[in-house]
Chain length 343, copies 2
C-alpha cells in the first residue's frame, strides 16, 4: 500500500514550514502567490490529498447532504438542484443525489442508501405514490435532520419549503374567469401530493366564488408529461361540451396539448384559453406564449440547503419551523388574453 | 455517544439467528416475507444502520462516483445525469454531483473536493474555458479512474464518451444545402471545446464540398443560451446579406432566435431555414417544429457510468479505450423543409 503524502513531506521537499504549506494549500492570502503556486504544484505532483476524510470521520460528520428527487430530468427539478449545489458548494458540503423515478419503492431504497452512508442531512421531494413515511423514521431516530421541499408532508414535524399552491391555483383560475371563461377544465397530477391537491383546491374555490354551478368544476388527473399533453388534446377534442379555458398544473403538459390543438385548427385563446404552471423555457416558445405561474426553483434549492446548513452548523432548531413559503407569481401572456387591454 | 444498533441486537430481540436477520435486511427470498417485514420494521424502529460505511473504509472504497458537469440546469445534462443515476443506483454506487458553472476555476475546486472525498472514479464534462488539466493529475497519480463525456479532452489517455460531432455538423449542413440554402450561418459555442469545434469543422467541410466560395462560410460564437438566441435574431436582422439557412449548435438558442424572427415577420423556412442541436423538448413546441440532431443524453449517462463501474469491479483497463462514440441522428422537421416532399 502506497503511503499517503502529508504536508510535512511537501514542507521538507520545498524547505518551508508545515504551517506555510498548510496555508498555501488553502489559498491563504498571507502567503505570497508564487509560494502558493509552488506548493500547490508540488502537492499535485505528489498526489497529496487533504485529510478532510479522516477529519470528518473523527467529527462524525460526512459534510454530505442527501437529496432525493422524483426525477433528475425535469426543468423545474434541475433548477432546484442547481440552486442547491451553489449554496452547498460554497459552504463546503457535497451533495449525494438520487431519483425515485416517482416510485415509493425506489424512494425507500434511496432513503436507506442515504442513511447507511451517513449523510449529515436529507432533503426530499416526494414521489408520486408515496403513502407511508416509515422509511424516514431512522433519520428521526438518529437525529439526522430531514427537510422536504416542493412535494412535502407533515411527517414528524420536519419542515417543508413550498410555494402557496392553493393561492397560485386560485389566482390562475380567477384570471381565466376574468377573461370570460365559463367552463374551465383543470388538469393536474396525483392528488396525494400537496402541490397538485392544493392547486386544485384553489381552482375549486375560485369557481365556487364566481357563482358557477357544480358542473363547472371539471378535473382530469394524469402524469403531466409531454405525452399526457397530447392525449389531453384528444380528450378535449372528443368532449361534447368543450372547455373555454384550461388550467394545467405543468407547462410541459400544457404546451404539448396546445400544440396538438393548434395543429387540429383550434384558435388559442379564442376557442380555448390556456394557463400553465412553472414558467419553463417552453412557455415562451409556444405561439401564443403561455400564461403561467413563475415558480422560483433555483431560489427554492438555495433556501432548502441554506436552511439545512444553518441548522447543522449553528444548531438552529429545524422542528420549530413548520414551513417556509416562497413567493410565486402569475405571468400573463397571450395564451389567455381574450379581452383587449385586460389582464 | 449512543451505541450503534447491530444485527445481534435485532436477533436477540426477535429471537432469530443473526444470519436470518442479516438476510432479512437484504430482502433475501429464502426468508419468509413476514419475517423480513418483522426484521425490517424492528430495524427501522431501533435506527439500525448497515455497516456499509465501515466496510467501505476497510475496503478503501467509498462506492461513490464523482460527477462534474458545466451546468445542472440544462435539458441535455439533466438527461445525462438521470441516465447515470439509474445505472449507479442499480450497481450500489452513489453519485456526488457538482457543477462548474462553465468556469475553469470552479472546476478545479470541484475536482479537489472530489479528490479529497476519495471518490472511486470521476466523470467530467469540461467547462467552457478549461485550458489546463493539471487539476486532474492527482487522480492519475492515485490511480483513480477518470472518464470524460460530451466535452472531452485526450488528457493522459483517459477515455471520452462522445457522439460524432463532426459527422453531425456535416450532415446538418448537407441537409440545408440540399434544401437550396446558399448562405448558411453557423452559430456555435467556445471552439476550445471539442463539441463545438467538431460541429463547425463538419459544417465547413460540407460548405467546401458544395463548391461554394470562402465567403459562404460564416460563423458566430456565443454562449448558446436563450438570451444569446434573441441577440442572434437582432444580428441577423441587421445583416446586409442575410443568411438563408442557420445551423445552431443548441436548440434553446435556435428556438429563441426563431421566435424573435417570427415575431418580426420573418417566414421560416422560406426566408431562412433552421437546424438546431440536441432534440430538446422545445424543438417540438416551436412552430414550425425545429429540425435538429437527436443526441442520446440518457444513453450517454448510462454508458459512462456502466463503463466506469465495469472498470472498477472487473478491473477492465480504462486506458485501452480512447473513445466511445454514440450514434446521433438528424431529425428533419418543418423548420428546414423548403422543397416539397424532400428531406
Amino acid at each position: 500500500m502506497e503511503k499517503e503524502v502529508t504536508i510535512y513531506d511537501i514542507a521538507e521537499l520545498l524547505q518551508l514550514s508545515a504551517a506555510t504549506v498548510s496555508r498555501a494549500l488553502n489559498d491563504h492570502p498571507a502567503i505570497n502567490i508564487k509560494t502558493r503556486q509552488r506548493v500547490q504544484s508540488k502537492a499535485n505532483e505528489l498526489g497529496y490529498r487533504s485529510n478532510t476524510f479522516a477529519s470528518n470521520l473523527r467529527k462524525k460528520t460526512t459534510q454530505t447532504l442527501g437529496v432525493i428527487v422524483p426525477r433528475l430530468n425535469s426543468h423545474f427539478m434541475s433548477s432546484v438542484l442547481a440552486g442547491m449545489e451553489v449554496v452547498a458548494n460554497k459552504a463546503g458540503y457535497h451533495m449525494l443525489i438520487s431519483q425515485s423515478l416517482e416510485s415509493a419503492a425506489n424512494e425507500k431504497a434511496n432513503a436507506r442508501t442515504m442513511f447507511n452512508n451517513r449523510v449529515d442531512g436529507l432533503l426530499v421531494s416526494l414521489a408520486y405514490d408515496t403513502e407511508s413515511y416509515d422509511h424516514f423514521a431512522g433519520f428521526i431516530k438518529k437525529k439526522v435532520p430531514l427537510l422536504f421541499f416542493d412535494r412535502v408532508t407533515d411527517f414528524m414535524e420536519c419542515p417543508g419549503i413550498v410555494i402557496d399552491n392553493y393561492k397560485a391555483g386560485y389566482e390562475a383560475t380567477r384570471h381565466l374567469l376574468a377573461q370570460g371563461c365559463q367552463q374551465i377544465l383543470h388538469v393536474t397530477g396525483n392528488l396525494r401530493r400537496n402541490v397538485y391537491n392544493d392547486r386544485m383546491e384553489g381552482y375549486k374555490k375560485a369557481i365556487q366564488e364566481a357563482g358557477l354551478s357544480e358542473r363547472a368544476v371539471q378535473v382530469i388527473v394524469n402524469d403531466l408529461s409531454a405525452e399526457a399533453g397530447v392525449v389531453l388534446a384528444r380528450q378535449i377534442m372528443a368532449m361534447e361540451q368543450k372547455p373555454d379555458g384550461v388550467f394545467v398544473a405543468s407547462d410541459i403538459c400544457a404546451v404539448n396539448c396546445m400544440r396538438a390543438l393548434i395543429d387540429a385548427g383550434y384558435r388559442i385563446p379564442d376557442d380555448v384559453a390556456f394557463v400553465g404552471f412553472n414558467n419553463d423555457h417552453v412557455s415562451q416558445i409556444i405561439d401564443p406564449k403561455l400564461t403561467t405561474v413563475d415558480y422560483p426553483g433555483h431560489q427554492m434549492g438555495e433556501l432548502a440547503v441554506s436552511t439545512m446548513i444553518n441548522h447543522l452548523t449553528s444548531n438552529q432548531p429545524l422542528g420549530a419551523t413548520s414551513s417556509i413559503v416562497l413567493r410565486s407569481q402569475l405571468i400573463v401572456r397571450a395564451s389567455s388574453k381574450r379581452l383587449l387591454g385586460a389582464d
